[in-house]
């Protein structure tokens, strides 16, 4: 999945070197400096991720998303989606399994959309770039967008009415 990133980066780097060695060196210096500057924030994020994923295991998520009360299931789903972080290649197969177990589409929609859009765990990184206030506003807005998506999913799949 990431190969094309390195194909693009490699090609861009090759073209850059051919065009100007000086500028390429400057670009790599900028890249290294920015990477190192943000690394501590990433480290904090990784620490949070490793602890939260231990506390909120797949079984815990499956348990709460399968709740009989639709309203609570959506709320739990958006809560867990917000406070965890998973790559798509883990989240969607998990959702696929839960779907087969009878979990509603709108619950899974709330889960995957908050997972993608709301980043409580990415907060240390986001605030370094955009500040605390903007980070909080963006995440709150994203949370409500995800709820809207879940409700619309529920309507389209006939799970609400």
């Amino acid at each position: 999945m990431y190969y094309y990133l390195y194909i693009v980066a490699g090609l861009a780097l090759a073209i850059s070197v051919i065009s100007s060695r000086d500028k390429t060196l400057k670009a790599l210096k900028i890249a290294a400096r920015r990477f190192v500057t943000i690394l501590p924030a990433f480290l904090i994020m990784l620490i949070l991720v490793s602890v939260v994923l231990f506390l909120v295991s797949d079984e815990v998520i499956a348990n709460y998303l399968g709740s009989n009360n639709k309203f609570f299931a959506v709320l739990f789903a958006s809560f867990f989606g917000s406070i965890t972080l998973m790559p798509g290649f883990i989240a969607f197969p998990l959702s696929g399994i839960l779907l087969k177990k009878g979990v509603l589409y709108m619950v899974l929609s709330a889960f995957t959309t908050t997972l993608m859009m709301v980043g409580v765990l990415t907060y240390p990184v986001e605030k370094e770039y955009f500040g605390v206030k903007v980070t909080i506003i963006r995440n709150v807005i994203s949370f409500f967008i995800a709820l809207a998506v879940a409700v619309m999913t529920g309507i389209f799949f006939g799970e609400i009415f």
Binding site: Y4, K23, A27, R34, S109, M116, T122, R138
Partner: protein
């Protein structure tokens, strides 16, 4: 030393001590947490170097005027289209979108466009979307995209307008 970095050092130090004690005493939750940490670090280290190399090249080669023309104040609707297309090809997730958005903004992309980019790179990265559709069905993915994308753009425009009015400045030097 700033308070922020002291807190960080304390967190990192206690985490390292916790893992070290867990491994020497055979405390399983600690071991599991260290596996989580390793898995995610590897995952991110696969993506971040490539992303930052592209950011570096972008900073050096792309002219400010070009960014301003396509993503800046006078770009109009085109800016949002570019933001969504760029988001579609982004890999990783939010944590990659933040430095990219920061870089775009420092070259003249307007706030509403970079917030659209961040939101869109959460929800419509192409490889992820294909993957999602194969597990959840096309209808599920279509509803999600058609509902979330317009909301992301509208919310970004409102947030951008609000912050511009408040004279918001993104931190320099990251």
């Amino acid at each position: 030393m700033k308070r922020n970095s002291i807190i960080r050092i304390v967190i990192i130090a206690s985490y390292v001590i916790f893992l070290a004690v867990s491994w020497t005493s055979g405390f399983n939750p600690g071991k599991e947490i260290s596996h989580n940490f390793a898995d995610f670090s590897v995952e991110m280290l696969k993506i971040l170097p490539g992303a930052f190399i592209l950011i570096g090249l972008f900073e050096v080669w792309v002219k400010r005027e070009t960014v301003e023309r396509h993503l800046g104040e006078r770009a109009g609707i085109r800016g949002y289209i570019w933001a969504v297309l760029l988001a579609g090809t982004t890999v990783g997730g939010l944590y990659v979108a933040f430095p990219v958005a920061y870089s775009l903004h420092s070259k003249g992309a307007k706030l509403s466009v970079i917030f659209t980019y961040i939101g869109a790179s959460a929800i419509c990265r192409i490889p992820m979307t294909i993957f999602e559709a194969s597990f959840m069905g096309i209808k599920f993915t279509a509803v999600r995209l058609l509902v979330s994308l317009p909301l992301v753009i509208v919310a970004s425009i409102l947030l951008g307008a609000y912050l511009t009015k408040r004279n918001y400045k993104i931190m320099a030097g990251k």
